[in-house]
């Protein structure tokens, strides 16, 4: 039952992702690429690239597209439900007890402790993308594009979608 598998994959990834949508990206990758084999890492990279080039929350874009690829509109609906519904319901229900949770040292320590794990998961993913770029297009392009990425995104604060489209354009001309 593919729909159940889709639900479970996105439910787990979002349940474990503390720190908003971006924290769930490596967890989605583990479910989609490693555990279920629905996509290769490079296909997942394409999806992530387009998701980063478009506005709006990242986790729902990933869920919507991957769900759609696997099971059409219903697949997308299932993936989105698993992504959004549990935490949306929780925030509405728990708001009645807001004062119990807001300053809870337990919740604070839990949130803090997850940050380094998410950092490592993202770093591992970054490493995989760099390795795949190195294998496919060589050291020169890898270093060049990474350096341009750093300069445009961090130094000159260029809009991320422009950087992504610029990289797509560069690749279309020089790497084809």
């Amino acid at each position: 039952m593919i729909y159940w598998e889709i639900f479970w994959a996105f439910f787990i990834a979002n349940l474990l992702g503390y720190g908003g949508g971006p924290a769930t990206i490596p967890l989605i990758q583990i479910e989609v690429v490693n555990n279920n084999g629905w996509m290769t890492l490079s296909e997942f990279g394409d999806v992530l690239a387009i998701a980063n080039a478009l506005p709006g929350p990242i986790a729902t874009k990933m869920a919507g597209f991957i769900g759609y690829e696997l099971g059409g509109v219903l697949g997308a609906a299932v993936a989105l439900t698993a992504t959004i519904l549990p935490s949306a319901l929780a925030v509405i229900v728990l708001f009645k007890f807001v004062n119990l949770f807001k300053d809870s040292p337990k919740v604070k320590l839990m949130t803090k402790s997850v940050q380094p794990i998410i950092a490592v998961l993202l770093a591992v993913m970054a490493y995989q993308f760099f390795m795949s770029a190195f294998e496919k297009s060589g050291m020169l392009h890898l270093v060049l594009l990474t350096a341009v990425g750093y300069l445009t995104l961090i130094k000159f604060k260029v809009h991320p979608s422009l950087v992504i489209f610029g990289a797509l354009f560069y690749g279309g001309i020089f790497l084809s």
Partner: protein, 198 residues
Amino acid sequence: MKPYLELAVGFARTGVTGYGGGPSTIPLIEFEAVKKYKWMTEEEFGETLALANTLPGPIATKMAAYIGYKVKGSLGATVAILTHILPSIIAMIALLGVLYSFRQSTIVSGMVQGVTPVIGFMLAEMAYRFYQKGSQGLGVPKNLMLAAVSLIFVQFLEWHPGILIGLVLSTAFYIAHRKEQANKKAAEEYMPVREKSS
């Protein structure tokens, strides 16, 4: 009808103008919710954000759910979430559909190669930001240790990160619980002394 329309417009606008995922849309949502449509006060928005941050999962949809619910119940929540997420999902399916239909073309494969290092860099930068947040919250040595342990378990021993996150979450819960108990005990021991002396 008007409240639904306002919810739809407010959340659609924030959904298509916020770049960099949910967390970056928070200031935009605050503008719509507090300044423009006055669905809630600034303090209330801050409380909602604090609670939403304590729960896992995407942040923008949690905010949309609560604000929509507050304005117009379950239907309001549904309207807010869907108008926030649907435009970008439809754009995503359309764009990737076009890209995939030219999958065989060498130009498209070149484009994918071109974007791979940039995505790698974006992820590395995000990793750095999460690491910094961890350092601020836990202190440098604890953060470094946890990061090293995660790297070993996830990358070399190939554990599912879910197990590791679950373990760390429950350990953090236990440590904070112990600290609270110790503080309470200390407070209780302190009180009778004061009573005697008075």
